[in-house]
Subunit: 382 residues, 4 copies
C-alpha cells in the first residue's frame, strides 16, 4: 500500500436501489497537481552483475520523462546477459563538507592547519558524538590569504550523508573556533565540499562512492546485438567522449549520457537527484582486447544512500527492495550495493547509446520510427 | 482527472450481508512500484516578478525529496513581495547540437569550414525542412587534426529542443557529407554540444535560455526577514560562492544551490531534468548599493520548454497552467516565460540559503528544530 | 653584431714589452648580472614542412635552460625529413581584449548588447583609427547581473597584438560609454580576454593563431628512429594525454609538453612568453592509419608576432631572419609563417618525448646516460 | 666573470706597423644568434618583506621583453616600503610525478592500491636510494577502468625537483611492477602530475611551494601612490579577477598578471620557466579593513629551486646571490626563500596593475605617454 498522504483521492460510491437490485457506481478522482510529480518509471533489465560485491541478475527501475532511455538501457542489459557479465567495484566511499573560517592573516591560519594535525583523535570524537554512523576519515585544507577552507571527509553508513556531514561539520566548526579563538566563522559550507556544482575537487579528492564497471563484449555480440564493431566503439569513444569533451572545456566529464541513467535511478530510489551533477563527471574507457571490446565506465562521485530523506516513500521502499538494498547488512553495505547497481546500469545505457551513434543509418531509422510512434526517439542522444 | 495509465489501482468492494443490514468494505490498493516515481511537490510563493517579460505574482511548484527546500524558497519569495520585486530578463535563447565528421587532413576540413560560410541559406533551409519551429541561428566549429566538430545553434520555439536540433543536425550532416564527399561521419553528437555534462562551452557560446534575475533588498528587510545584513551577504558570496568555487576547480559555477531549485521546477514541469547540470553553472553577484543589498543570479543555461516529452502528463499540464505557460503565444514565448519564473525562483532559493549561512547560530538552531521534526533540516545546504 | 647596450663589457689589453718582443694579453669581462638573462639557445632541425603556407626545411632556435629539449626535438625533426613532411595549417588568427562596464541593471546592459549590433561599422572605424593594422573582426559578450563584459576580436597584422587591441579597446570603451551614458567604466580588461591565464574561453572563441600540424610516420620509421610502434604511440596518447589530463582536471590541455617547445621558440623570437599559458592548451590526436602512424598537434592559441616589443633585439632579428619571418609580405603573413613553424616544432618535440615514454627501458637508460654526463636527462618529461 | 662558452666571440687584433709606430685595431664580434637569447633584465625594488621566513628589503631581477613590467612592479615595491611590509608564508612544499600502469581489471588495480598502503616504508626507501634529498611524502591514486595513476609527492631539497622525482618515480615503478607482476608499464608520466599544463590537480593536491603574500596598504597610500581607493581595488578584484575569470572558464586562475612577474623571475634565476603555467593559477583576495586595503596573493604552485638545471649559469648565480638564495642553509631553505621573494614580487606587480586599471584616465594617459616614448606602455595589461 502506497503512502496515501501523497495522493489526493476522492473516492465516491453512488448506491442506487432500484426495485430488488443494488447498483454501485464507484468513482475515483486522483488529483495530483501541487502535491506530487509523477515521473514515469519502468523496470529495465535484468543486468548481469558479477562481483566482487554482488553476483546477481538485477532489474533496475528508471524514472524519466525521456522514455527512449528504457529500451536503450535495456539493450545494454540484454548484452550483459549474453556475456560473462558486468564486473563492478567500489574503490572508495566518503562524504564531505567544507567549513570556512578566517583568521587575522595567512601565518595564523597556516599555524592552525599545522596544529589541527595533532588533534585527529579529538576531531574524530567530535564527529562520532553527532552520529553513531559518522566517522571522520580525513580532512584537506585550502588557504587563500587569511581564509581557511577545511574539507572534512567522513563515512556515513548507508546514508548519502549530506545532513550527517553538515551536522558533524557544525560541531567541528564549534570545536575549532573555541580552540583557536582568533578564527572567525564565515560559512558552514565554503563551496570546497562541493555539493551539486561542476568542479574538479570531488573527482580528485573523492565524494560519494567511486564506482568502476567493466564488461568485455565479444565481437560477435557487438555486431549482432549492438550493430557495431569493437573498433567503431573505441573510435567513437576517443573522438566524442574524450576529445569532444576536452574541446567543450569539460571537467572530468568524458562520457555520453551518464546523467540520464543516474537521474533515472536517483529519482526511483529517493536520492537527492541534484547530485547527478557530480555523478555525471565520469569517464568511459574502451579498448579492443583480443579482438573483443573492453568497455568500462568510471564514476568517481556516486552520491547515494539507502536511508535518509526520501527513502521512506512507498515507491522508494519498493524499489530499494527490488534492488535488494533493504536487507540487514553491515553499515554502508546497502549503499555500496546500490552504487554497484548504478555502475552497471550506467554502463548499459552508455554502451547502447554509443553503439547507436557509431551507425548513422541506424540512428536515423530509429529516429524516424520513433517519430511515427509519436515519441522523439533520440532524445537521450547526448 | 489525472492520467490513469500511470497508476496501478486495485479497487475492491467487500459486501457483507449480515441479517438485515449491508456492510460495505471499500478498499484501494495503489501500487506504484515500477510504474511511477511520486516526487513530493509543494507550491511555493508567490514570487513578485517585475518585468520586462512579465509583471505578476507567481506561485511555483517544486518537486523534491528535500523538503526543507520549500520553506527556504518560500522565505525568499516572501521577501520578494516586500520589495519592489524580482526583475528578470532573458538575454539569449538557443539550443545546440554538435555533429562530428572527419576528413583526410586538417587542410581539407579547414577548407570545408570556409566553404560552409557560403552556404548559410542552404543550411537554414535544411533545418527549416525538419521542423517549422527550428531556425538555424549560427554555427561554431572546432578542429583537432583532421576532425571537425560543428556545433549548430537553433531556436526551437517552445520546445527545449533536444530532439528538434538532433533531427535538424541529422539532416545537416547528410547535406554536408553529400556536399563534401571526402568527409566521413563520426558521430551525430561530438560532445561539443554539450548535453548534460559539466563544461565551459555552454556558458560561453550559449545553450538554452540565458536568464538574469535581480532584486534590491532594503537593509531593514535583510535584517528583519533574512536575519542578516547586506555586508554579510556580500561577504559570504565573495568567500564562498566566488573564491570557494574557484578553489574547487569549479567551472562557471559560483553559487550555493541553483541545482536544488532547478531540479524542483524541472521535475514539476516535465523537463529533461538532467539538464540541471548545465543549469547549475551560474553566478551570484551581490553588492551593497545605497546601503541596501543588490542581489542577482545569472543562469546562462536554462534548458526548458513547454511542449515536448513529458509535457502532456496531467500534473505537468496542471503546473504549466499554474505558471501561465500554457497560453496561446508567439512561438518561444511560453518557454521564455517559464525561464523567467525559474530565474526568480532560483533567486529566492539562493537568497534564503545564503542568508541562513551568514548566521551560524540560526543554522544550528534551525538544524536542531528540524531534527526534532524528524526532518534533516539543513539538507539543502550546499 | 649584437646589441652592445645589453652587454657590460670590459675589454682590456695588457701589453708587455720584454726585450725585443711584444706580448699581448687580451682579456674580456662580460658582466651580465642585472642587465640581461642569457638563455642558452641552440638551433634544431631542419624540420621538413610541407604546405599549404610554406614548403621548406626550416631550422629552429630553441632558448631553454632544459638542454635535453634540443636532442629530443631534433629527433622529431630528423624523422620529419625521412617522411613526406609536416603539414601545417593556420585555421584562424585573431587577438582579443575584453572591456568591462556596468549599467543600472541587466535589462539596460542587454539593451546595450542589442544596440551594439547596429553599430558594427562605427565600432570598426573606431578600431581602425587607433592603428592601420587593427581590424575589428567580431565581439562576444557575457552578462552577469548588471555587469557587461565585451570581448573584442581583431586582426593585428604581424604583431601579436596585445598593445594594439588594448589601445583599440580603450577607444571602443570611450565610444561605448559616450554612446550609452548609463554605463560606467569598470576595467579596460575584464579577464574575459583572457591573457596569460588558464581558461577555456581562448580555445573556444579563439585568441592568437589556431595551428594544426600533422605528419604520417611510416611504421618502419617508428620502429627504427623512434624505437616504438604506431600502436604504442596511440595507446600512450590515449591513456596519458587524453585520459590522464582529464583526470587532472585539465582544461583543453591534452598533450605532454607543448609548453617546453613553445617557451623555447617564444624566448628565441622575442615573444611575450607568458602566453605559453594559453599556448600550452592544445591537443594531440594520433591514429594508426594504413598500418602507419598519423600524428597531429592542434594548438588553438599560438600568440606570436614578428613585430612589436622585443622584436628589435639583435638576437631576435637574427632568429626571425633564420626562420624567414623577416621578409616583406602581406600584413600578417610573417606572423602566420612563424606560427606554422612553431606548430611543426611542437609536433617534433611531442613526437619524440611520447615515443621515449612508450619504452621504459629506453627512458631509464637515457636517464642514466645523461646523468653520467652530468645532465639530468629526462627533465623535459612532462 | 660570466660563462664564456655561451658567447661566440671573435676577437681580432690588427696590428699595423707604419714606419716607427704601431697601430692596434682591436675588434670584437659578439655573435649571439643560435647561441643564446639575451633577455633584457632589470632589478626592481627593493621590496619590504616581513617574516616569518625573512625580514629584509630585497631587490629582485626581472627578465622580460615587456619593459613596462619594471616600473609597474617597482611602484608596488615602493608602496611596500611605505607600509609595514609584505608578509609572506610558504604553507606547503612538495614536488610530484605520476606514473601510469594497468592491470587486468579494476578489481586488481584497486587491490594494488590497498596493498601499497602497507608498503609505505619500502616505497620511502626506494625513493631515498635515488637521491639523498628526495623524501616520499605521500601518494594519491586515480583509477579509470583498469588503469592506475599513482601521483607521488616528494620533498626535493633546494631543487625544483623535476628530475629528482622522475628518477624516484622510475625506481618506484620498477619496484611496484616487480611486486605486482600483473601490472604493466604504460608511462613514466601519466599527466596526472601534472607538469606545465593547465589543470586543477596541482592547486588541490599541491605541487611546488604554496605561497601566500599579504600587505595592508593605508588608505592614504592607496590614494597618493596608487591613485586609487581601497573600495575601487576591492571592486575591481571582484569583477575582473574573480567574476571575469569565472566567466572565462578559468581554472583556479583569479588574478590579472601573476604570469608576467613569475616569468621575469623564473628566467632571471634559471628556473624551468614553463612552470609559470601552474604558477599563474593563483588567487587575489582583497578587502577593505579598518578603512585600509588588505591585499593578498595566493600562489599554490610556485615550482622553483636554487640548484639544478640552469642554476650554474653566471647570471643566475649572480641573481641568486643578489636574492640571498646562495647561502649554506638547511636543505630546502634556499628554495623556500626564493619562493617567498617571488610571492612578494607577484604581489607588487599585481597591486600596481590593478590600481592602474581602476582609473581609466590614468591608463590612457600612461598609454599615450609611453606611446610617445615608442614603447607600448600597457602591454602588461592582462
Amino acid at each position: 500500500m502506497s503512502d496515501p498522504s501523497l495522493v489526493d483521492l476522492t473516492l465516491f460510491l453512488v448506491t442506487q436501489y432500484n426495485s430488488a437490485s443494488y447498483t454501485f457506481h464507484l468513482g475515483l478522482i486522483l488529483k495530483s497537481s501541487g502535491h506530487f510529480a509523477t515521473i514515469p518509471t519502468k523496470i529495465v533489465g535484468p543486468m548481469k552483475i558479477i562481483g566482487p560485491v554482488l553476483q546477481e541478475e538485477i532489474r533496475v527501475p528508471l524514472a524519466t520523462f525521456e522514455t527512449p532511455l528504457w529500451p536503450s538501457t535495456n539493450r545494454g542489459a540484454a548484452v550483459s546477459r549474453l556475456t560473462s557479465g558486468i564486473k563492478v567495484v567500489v574503490v572508495d566511499d566518503r562524504m564531505t563538507r567544507s567549513v570556512l573560517v578566517e583568521g587575522p592573516d595567512a601565518e595564523y591560519v597556516s599555524q592552525v592547519v599545522g596544529a589541527l594535525k595533532g588533534y585527529r583523535h579529538e576531531l574524530s570524537q567530535v564527529v562520532t558524538k553527532t552520529s553513531r554512523f559518522a566517522h571522520l576519515e580525513n580532512w584537506h585544507v585550502q588557504l587563500v590569504g587569511n581564509l581557511l577552507y577545511i574539507r572534512f571527509e567522513m563515512t556515513t553508513g548507508d546514508a548519502a550523508g549530506h545532513n550527517m556531514t553538515t551536522k558533524a561539520a557544525d560541531a567541528l566548526l564549534d570545536w575549532i573556533i573555541e580552540r583557536f579563538p582568533k578564527l572567525q566563522y564565515v560559512s558552514i559550507s565554503g563551496n570546497y565540499c562541493t555539493d551539486k556544482k561542476a568542479s574538479a575537487v570531488n573527482g580528485i579528492l573523492g565524494r560519494g562512492k567511486y564506482v568502476i564497471a567493466e564488461m568485455t563484449i565479444p565481437r560477435v555480440l557487438c555486431q549482432k546485438n549492438l550493430k557495431t564493431t569493437p573498433e567503431q566503439m573505441v573510435n567513437l569513444n576517443l573522438k566524442k567522449n574524450l576529445i569532444g569533451s576536452i574541446l567543450a572545456g569539460g571537467v572530468r566529464a568524458a562520457n555520453a549520457h551518464f546523467a540520464n541513467v543516474l537521474l533515472g535511478i536517483y529519482l526511483a530510489t529517493g536520492q537527492d537527484a541534484a547530485n547527478i551533477i557530480e555523478g555525471s563527471q565520469g569517464i568511459v574507457h574502451a579498448e579492443v582486447r583480443n579482438n573483443d571490446l573492453y568497455f568500462s565506465v568510471t564514476l568517481p562521485n556516486v552520491i547515494v544512500g539507502t536511508v535518509g530523506n526520501g527513502k521512506n516513500l512507498p515507491f522508494v521502499l519498493d524499489n530499494l527492495k527490488l534492488l535488494g538494498c533493504d536487507k540487514e547488512r553491515k553499515a554502508g553495505a546497502n549503499g555500496r550495493r546500490l552504487a554497484v547497481i548504478i555502475g552497471a546500469a550506467v554502463l548499459c545505457g552508455e554502451l547502447s547509446l554509443l553503439a547507436a551513434q557509431t551507425n548513422p543509418g541506424e540512428l536515423m531509422q530509429s529516429h524516424l520510427r520513433l517519430e511515427r510512434l509519436e515519441h522523439e526517439g533520440s532524445k537521450e542522444i547526448s
